[in-house]
């Protein structure tokens, strides 16, 4: 068979399969379409013609087409029929009226004067988009009628219509178009994209709202923005798109999710100024889900409710804002099968350069000499023999050994190699791929969307062989059972499997677990001993050996969600929605450790690597159930044409039940067969936790709009939570917002085409915050380290912070020949602990100019959080435990968001482009009340403190002589003798010594505020353009102002101890020959030089090309031949370029070194629609 023949055969099979699929789908439609009511029951007195027709329309499946001017309005009839055929009723009605009716296909009835000849002709037409490509699924209706048809995959429709009928053609995202039909000639209709962003409908709490009518601070982004390129998780795609939605990618490790924050810090968490300590409430299709567990391809839109007025409807979990994620639903029209897939290769954005063995030995011995000369930290230095052999190895690695027998222990090697561990661990690009197939469509009454997503990512640490996989099947069906009842079911499953080395469990060889490069891997240590065994010898962790030999950790998670929803429209203007959701999250995480031998000189057995010994299997199981019930009714109407009213009242109830259990068995019968039952452990460990939590809320919202100009919204919610004691379970959250559509005013009439929208907004609201389990406010939830959401806290202290409990643990002492089990002392709880409250005031401006080509918005906000749960007043340590938290602190912050979007066409409409600029800032949060720290200690919050501020010293260069160094009393900073090359700090208070004073703001010694680490002025810049079949997108993101204090060992050589490995950057250290070095003299644990100080507060501002995508859509000529509607191929680069003044060892986006780095990647993808 020739190649061509083969091709055609394949293609025929493909087409046959697709045809079969389509037939199946259309049959489904037919079934769903099956209800047709042709009988009616009417009891009308003195009803006019129109009233009768309307009544029939309501009860039956018929629709009428007529001219209002031409039907008899004066004739009144009495009708009393029981279950009568419509045709009979109409016959009676029309008799002697001078009118007649004609029934067309689709239950359409045309009423005309009796003398008019109705000719019904089949009309065919094609609907095209602005580029001339067919638009499948566009709705074609006869004007005035409720029914119509939809275009097929070629954009073609067929409809029987009476003469001179007007057709209305609509398609989401395009301007509506009307066409008058006469004759049977085929027509062609071109739709142009709707520029009217103002008519967009935005998802809001428990409903939708026209964007033009919004009064709160709400931002939204459509799924298109994130589906045009491959992204790891939703956070990855959202980063930088919505001003003041701060996305923290946390790390580039497979399976680690993003965390979110809206508008900065709104609460205090002791010991941290991390932005993500306050997470917004994240709802996916109305239920609280981990956004990292959904397939980004399924997202239809993301809305962020930023101010209290918008989020108040969600009450006590919404104090930090709300993210509403809506997933895709089916749309009416022919079945559409889409595939998108991509293949990506990625590697770390930044890799630290570590020193080679030469610099390492020099610095190590220098540090040791410093210790010896000054009575500081000393250890056994490298000997002359070490240096000599290391130099020989560096010069010629193949001829010289990387280790020789240790004179102190002849069985062990002393290492003299030269290993670049970074290159060994992260040698190249890691692959990643995703595939998504979805089928959607629908008839008039039923729409469906079914999909299957698959994602696979391999870890960057090659020897770890980590594979992370995610499967996301989902199905969504909506059906209108009849005119007043719709039913909606939504099922989705996320299955995750993550296979990685078990060393994660024991935190040894740690790169795998968050930290990506542990200390203790000196360049002198080789990967393999000269005799070929893995190097290591117990002193160090050799991650290559551990990854290879120590067992695996396989985590499997299933997150199943099902929602059933009933939508009732019992009368006009009223909609009632009730839904019930059940979620089951189960996890099974099994890890096993296999002991392995370590070998010394010439392969002599040394010992068993300790940290994976004895052999063991641990199993962690989680079984969480969540149910939620929502019921709400909305009434919407316009009175006297000018008074628009929308009222909502509803009820929400949620229940969470967590069950965790874990077991651990040691001493496996066969260490390589990790089955928990096969052990000889006399006392396996079994543990578990079970908690539950509940929430109820009643809410109401009222919108009033006068004449489209003056907008008012009032919200209220009454919440009850199981987290608080009986006398304090309930709280109320009110909010109000107003708006003024200036553009609608009469005086703006003349410039309506220039100023399309101009709206002023203001809002105020107060929300309680129940996400305050003790101090924790932890977001490190339970969903397998994916940075899960706050309300997943599982321990008793978090769920019942007002109830004291006695923790159970074991002591390392044998009682009855077993480690003693003990029930320990309960901590102190505060009986008065209550809800924190967040008050937000927001002022906003929405604008749209020049025919909507230029639009955007600006918001300014002030946040105040009152009664924050913090440590009570510090008490003397004689109390013996932590003081219970109290509602004792207030903080305040303010900020703005700004966005500007320009879109236009050029080159005769062939080039379409848009540019969007966003900019956002939140001020440093200021502590306005804090009574727990009367001494103004710097180790606690203080009134007037700006979160993120850094106290430190002023660097005045180096001491140039030992005498100079010892003339100043530095003993408070470090007790050793200070030497030339140590840092000279400014004696700010002039007392002749350098110290911390009392470490209080009142007496800070020689410290002062040297800066603030809060990032400011985040910006995003995106550019989209399409020309002919090409499309191009690029997106820049960055921070204009950010200071970073790198208090870590990569920065300060040997900061912690002798086991820290210096980076190449730290080789620029002080010596008498290099007196102007960037870094001081090298010391082990040189605490004196490592004080926070102005010189080392680095500028971490950056701009980064987050994304750059070039796409090409196959011309219709080719795709048509392939019998597919649309095929787009693209290539995307992510994080490819970064502009920053920060040293290249750091990624400015995840400052802090010891984190698994973010990836830069290149992807190739394809999107096809059948």
């Amino acid at each position: 068979m020739g190649v061509m023949e083969k091709y055609w055969l394949l293609k025929s099979i493909l087409i046959m399969k697709l045809t079969l699929l389509l037939i199946l789908v259309f049959n489904l439609n037919v079934v769903a379409n099956g209800f047709s009511q042709t009988r009616v029951t009417l009891n009308l007195k003195a009803a006019d013609f129109k009233k009768v027709i309307t009544s029939i329309e309501k009860q039956s499946s018929y629709h009428f087409v007529y001219s209002e001017r031409k039907i008899p309005v004066t004739k009144k009839v009495d009708i009393n029929v029981q279950n009568e055929e419509v045709s009979k009723v109409l016959d009676d009605l029309m008799a002697n009226s001078g009118f007649k009716y004609n029934e067309l296909a689709n239950h359409l009835i045309v009423i005309t004067k009796a003398d008019v000849q109705v000719t019904v002709s089949p009309v065919t037409g094609t609907v095209l988009d602005e580029k001339g490509a067919p638009l499948p699924g566009a709705t074609v209706k006869i004007k005035g009628a409720k029914t119509g048809t939809a275009t097929d995959i070629n954009g073609v429709f067929k409809l029987d219509v009476p003469d001179n009928t007007t057709l209305v053609i609509t398609f989401l995202g395009y301007e509506e178009k009307e066409v008058v039909v006469s004759g049977t000639a085929p027509i062609t209709v071109s739709l142009s994209p709707s520029g009217k962003s103002l008519n967009e409908v935005v998802v809001v709490g428990y409903g939708t709202q026209k964007k033009v009518n919004l009064t709160g601070a709400i931002a939204t982004v459509s799924g298109e923005k994130i589906e045009s390129r491959p992204i790891v998780n939703l956070g990855d795609g959202l980063e930088g798109l919505i001003p003041n939605l701060n996305v923290n990618m946390n790390s580039g490790q497979p399976g680690v999710g993003a965390t979110f924050n809206v508008r900065g810090l709104t609460t205090l968490a002791p010991g941290t100024t991390n932005l993500t300590t306050t997470s917004p409430l994240i709802l996916v299709d109305g239920v609280a889900r981990d956004p990292n567990l959904i397939d980004p391809n399924d997202v239809e839109s993301v809305t962020v409710l930023k101010d209290a007025a918008s989020s108040a409807i969600y009450g006590s979990r919404a104090a930090n804002g709300v993210m509403l994620i809506t997933t895709k639903s089916g749309k009416k029209g022919p079945a559409k099968l889409s595939y998108s897939g991509s293949y990506t290769i990625s590697r770390p954005t930044q890799l630290v350069d570590q020193v080679n063995s030469d610099d390492y030995i020099k610095m190590f011995n220098y540090a040791n000499r410093s210790g010896q000369q000054s009575g500081g930290y000393t250890t056994s230095p490298f000997t002359t023999q070490d240096s000599t052999l290391a130099a020989a190895y560096r010069a010629n690695p193949s001829a010289n050994p990387a280790g020789y027998p240790d004179p102190g222990n002849p069985k062990k090697y002393r290492y003299v190699g030269n290993t670049d561990w970074i290159k060994v661990l992260y040698p190249g690009w890691a692959p990643q791929q995703q595939h998504n197939v979805s089928l959607s469509g629908g008839s008039d009454n039923t729409t469906y969307n079914a999909g299957m997503g698959y994602f696979r990512q391999d870890g960057l640490e090659k020897s770890a062989n980590q594979v992370y996989q995610r499967y996301t099947p989902s199905i969504k069906v909506n059906t209108d059972v009849n005119k007043w009842l719709s039913f909606n079911v939504n099922l989705s499953l996320t299955h995750i499997s993550n296979d990685q080395p078990a060393t994660t469990r024991i935190n040894q060889g740690g790169p795998i677990n968050g930290g990506w490069l542990e200390s203790g891997l000196p360049p002198v240590m080789p990967v393999y001993n000269p005799d070929g065994n893995y190097a290591g010898q117990g002193n160090y962790s050799n991650p290559i050996a551990i990854n290879d030999l120590s067992g695996r950790d396989i985590d499997s998670q299933n997150d199943f969600w099902s929602t059933g929803r009933v939508i009732l429209k019992p009368v006009d203007h009223l909609t009632v929605v009730a839904d019930y959701t059940w979620n089951s999250f189960t996890e099974f995480d099994k890890a096993n450790l296999i002991p392995f031998n370590e070998y010394g000189v010439d392969g002599q057995f040394l010992d068993i690597f300790p940290w994976t010994n004895p052999s063991q299997v641990s199993e962690n199981r989680q079984n969480n159930n969540y149910t939620s019930l929502n019921a709400y009714a909305t009434y919407e109407n316009t009175f006297a044409k000018k008074h628009y009213l929308k009222a909502l009242v509803g009820y929400n109830q949620e229940y969470n039940h967590y069950q965790l259990s874990n077991s651990l068995a040691k001493n496996l019968i066969d260490p390589t067969l990790p089955a928990i039952g096969l052990n000889s452990d006399s006392k396996p460990v079994v543990g578990g936790t079970e908690t539950e939590s509940a929430l109820v809320g009643t809410f109401a919202r009222l919108n009033y709009i006068y004449d489209g100009k003056y907008l008012l919204e009032v919200n209220g919610r009454y919440d009850g939570s199981s987290r608080f004691p009986a006398n304090d379970k309930y709280t109320f959250s009110p909010s109000v917002s107003v708006g003024w559509n200036i553009a609608e005013e009469g005086f703006m009439k003349n410039i309506r085409n220039t100023v399309n929208e101009l709206k002023l907004r203001a809002s105020y609201g107060q929300l309680p915050d129940q996400l305050t389990p003790g101090y924790g406010k932890s977001i490190s939830g339970t969903n397998g380290g994916t940075g899960a959401i706050a309300y997943n806290n599982i321990n008793a202290t978090a769920q019942y912070p007002y109830i004291p409990v006695m923790p159970v643990s074991t002591v390392p002492y044998l009682i009855n020949s077993q480690p003693g089990i003990t029930v320990t002392t309960p901590g102190l709880v505060s009986p008065n602990q209550t809800w924190e409250r967040v008050r937000t005031t927001n002022f906003g401006l929405d604008y749209s100019f020049l025919n909507d080509r230029l639009n955007g918005s600006f918001d300014y906000f002030i946040n105040k959080t009152l009664g924050i749960l913090v440590n009570s007043v510090q008490l003397p340590a004689v109390l013996g435990t932590a003081t219970p938290p109290g509602n004792l602190a207030d903080i305040k912050s303010s900020g703005y968001e700004f966005s500007l979007n320009w879109r236009d066409k050029a080159l005769d409409g062939k080039l379409q482009y848009s540019i969007t600029v966003t900019m956002a800032n939140n001020s440093n949060s200021t502590v306005t009340k804090y009574s727990s720290n009367p001494t103004q200690s710097l180790s606690d919050f203080r009134v007037g403190e700006q979160l993120g501020e850094v106290w430190g010293f002023e660097n005045k260069g180096y001491y140039q002589t030992d005498a100079q160094a010892q003339a100043i009393n530095n003993s408070a900073l470090a007790g050793y003798k200070w030497l030339a090359g140590d840092i000279r700090y400014a004696d700010l208070n002039g007392d002749g010594k350098i110290d911390y004073g009392d470490k209080t703001a009142i007496n800070p010694g020689d410290m002062k505020i040297i800066g603030n680490q809060t990032p400011h002025n985040r910006f995003g810049l995106s550019l989209n353009a399409s020309y002919a079949n090409f499309d191009f997108t690029t997106f820049f993101q960055g921070v204009l102002q950010h200071r970073f204090y790198p208090n870590e060992y990569v920065f300060y050589a040997f900061r912690d101890d002798e086991y820290s490995i210096p980076s190449q950057m730290s080789t620029n250290y002080w010596t008498p020959q290099n007196p102007n070095a960037f870094f001081p003299r090298v010391r082990f644990s040189g605490g004196g030089n490592e004080q926070a100080q102005d010189k080392y507060l680095l500028n971490a501002a950056y701009a980064r090309v987050k994304q750059i995508t070039l796409g090409y859509t196959l011309p219709k000529l080719i795709s048509g031949k392939l019998h597919v509607q649309k095929v787009r191929v693209y290539v995307t680069g992510a994080n490819l370029f970064t502009i920053t003044s920060l040293d290249k060892d750091y990624d400015p986006e995840v400052v802090g070194f010891n984190t698994y780095p973010l990836n830069k990647s290149v992807s190739f993808g394809i999107q096809a629609t059948l």
Binding site: G538, V811, Y813, P819
Partner: protein, 575 residues
């Protein structure tokens, strides 16, 4: 009409669900946690609670012990004795490094109480406020009250040693107990009187046979009482205005002799003076060992420790001063004995010395690990800083050397210490007779084959550390130093004897003699960086020739923050 009805139903439904408070739905209580209201109901509860104290037992692990004394000169200089220690800002939970506080796997060594931490005190007081509701007999209750008071007494004693006067909290307090929270420090004497009262209750109420193997016994309580009383008694004697020493010295004698007269305990011996002492500290099982008043036990796969391995590569070493203090086999100090062969070589130095010398210091032929025999002291390596490598508790077993896999047991209270307490307390009271010595010190000497200490023939060592002290006390102190080497008593002893100035002796930071001839026997590169003094003794700290004692070092500084928080607390003198 149908639709109207639906509205009515829905409205009624909405009003119904929204109007009522759902208290029953919201009332949730912990499902897998223990509440204090329902606890303390039977003996098991009392036991389970008291078990938490046991992680605070003073286990003698040899590791880093005595680094802060004249016995050792670790590679890293002791910050306190080098006078480089700075006042901590806040109360931490960890003890100060170098005070014997060290965590090695599961063998957590509770240090000298230098951490201003009152969690254990609170745990004890919480028990005392709640135990009485248990439905058990008074005798059972008092057993656990006794355990509680044992630990509370030990903790306060550690605090007194570390800080002098301390706030004395003997009641369960909460954040509102202002009078306790902001109290001034209670004077040392008064605290110790309360400590003694607690110990006496423990002695009187803890039974001889424990309710579960491993729990405290009456003898453990007596052993602690003897230790505490000797410390406080001698402290009062050697410090001015410290109170009457007699009741404490007598208390030490009484407690020690109750243990001795019980007949339950003996020194461990197999009749091999060259091995028994060394072997005693590498026992797989001390339960049932006649010398163990209370052992800390370790069992394979159940509870293991990491000490054996670390002892081989700890970078520490005994000081020259410690090595000199061993008697010669004729019972005379090196300064008097004709048997002393000098210290030009390590072999000479070990010749004719107390057999405990080679059983505590690695000498030629010592098997460090599975046949790795020591020839020359392993200076210039991580094994030892001074050449006097500490080997107490260090075995040659590969199995025990595996990280975290050692199951050698440790002593918490060793009978030998009790004997030494009895002798010293008698001597301080002036009641030490030859019989006393024969029942105590001479039993220790018999085990290692050393001649008896005979009062009548004692000669004052011209090089004595304590020239002003009567020869009997001087020699009892020497015996204590040798027998209890590396067991963590030395700084406390220097403290109570008011003998901190011992560290001024330069020999306390010198190592072995490294003559050019000896040095030539090593690979040059291994010892090239070793510095020696004019007499060829290794200088462990090249930049320090002597340390200078200051009396402020007897007491640790109180964290700055505690003084700021409670103005009634004043800093210790000199800090």
């Amino acid at each position: 009409m149908k639709s109207k009805n639906i509205i009515y139903i829905i409205c009624i439904f909405l009003i119904a669900v929204t109007s009522c408070k759902r208290d029953s739905f919201l009332d949730r209580a912990p499902l897998s946690s223990i509440s204090p209201q329902t606890f303390f109901k039977n003996e098991t509860d009392l036991q389970l609670y008291c078990n938490q104290y046991y992680s605070n037992l003073p286990i003698q692990t040899f590791l880093r012990a005595d680094d802060n004394s004249d016995d050792k000169a670790n590679q890293t200089i002791n910050a306190l004795l080098a006078n480089t220690y700075t006042v901590p800002s806040g109360a931490s939970t960890g003890d100060i490094p170098g005070t014997g506080a060290y965590s090695a796997g599961t063998a957590t060594i509770d240090g000298t109480g230098t951490n201003w931490n009152f969690a254990l005190i609170r745990a004890c007081n919480f028990f005392l406020a709640n135990y009485s509701r248990a439905q058990v007999t008074d005798a059972v209750k008092n057993n656990y009250v006794g355990e509680t008071l044992f630990f509370r007494a030990n903790d306060f004693w550690k605090k007194v040693k570390a800080f002098g006067d301390v706030p004395y909290i003997n009641k369960y307090i909460t954040d509102t107990s202002k009078s306790y929270l902001y109290a001034a420090r209670m004077p040392h004497q008064q605290v110790m009187d309360s400590v003694l009262k607690d110990l006496n209750f423990a002695v009187d109420n803890i039974p001889v046979s424990p309710s579960q193997p491993g729990r405290l016994t009456k003898y453990a309580a007596l052993a602690l009482k003897a230790r505490v009383c000797l410390w406080e008694g001698t402290y009062r004697k050697y410090f001015a205005n410290a109170g009457d020493p007699t009741p404490y010295l007598q208390g030490a004698v009484d407690a020690a002799e109750q243990i001795m007269s019980s007949g339950t305990f003996h020194l461990y011996t197999t009749g091999n003076p060259q091995k028994d002492y060394y072997n005693l500290f590498i026992q797989e099982e001390l339960q049932g060992n006649p010398e163990a008043i209370l052992p800390a036990r370790y069992l394979p796969s159940i509870l293991t420790n990491d000490i054996d391995r670390q002892l081989g590569q700890n970078g520490d070493g005994y000081s020259k001063d410690f090595a000199r203090s061993f008697l010669c086999t004729d019972g005379l100090p090196y300064s008097l004995s004709p048997l002393y062969k000098g210290d030009d070589t390590p072999d000479d130095e070990a010749t004719n010395r107390d057999p405990r010398y080679p059983q505590q210091i690695a000498t030629r032929g010592f098997d460090l690990l599975n046949g790795d025999l020591i020839t020359l002291p392993r200076i210039g390596t991580t094994n030892t800083s001074t050449g006097y490598q500490c080997i107490k508790g260090r075995s040659n077993s590969l199995a025990a050397w595996n990280a975290g896999q050692s199951t050698y047991d440790f002593f918490i209270f060793r009978y030998a210490e009790t004997l030494l307490i009895d002798a010293e307390a008698h001597a301080e009271l002036g009641s030490c007779t030859q019989t006393t010595l024969d029942n105590t010190i001479n039993l220790l000497r018999d085990r290692v084959g050393m001649p008896h200490m005979v009062i009548a023939s004692l000669v004052k060592d011209p090089k004595s550390d304590f020239p002003g002290v009567p020869v009997l006390i001087d020699e009892i102190r020497r015996e204590r130093r040798i027998e209890l080497g590396s067991e963590g008593f030395r700084f406390d002893d220097m403290h109570r004897w008011n003998a901190g100035s011992l560290i001024n002796n330069p020999e306390t930071i010198l190592g072995m003699k490294l003559t050019p001839e000896l040095k030539a026997q090593y690979p040059a590169s291994q010892v090239s960086s070793i510095v020696v003094d004019a007499n060829n003794y290794i200088r462990v700290y090249p930049n320090f020739t002597t340390r200078v004692w200051s009396d402020k070092l007897y007491l640790y500084p109180i964290p700055t923050q505690e003084i700021t928080l409670n103005p009634a607390i004043k800093q210790n003198p000199g800090w």
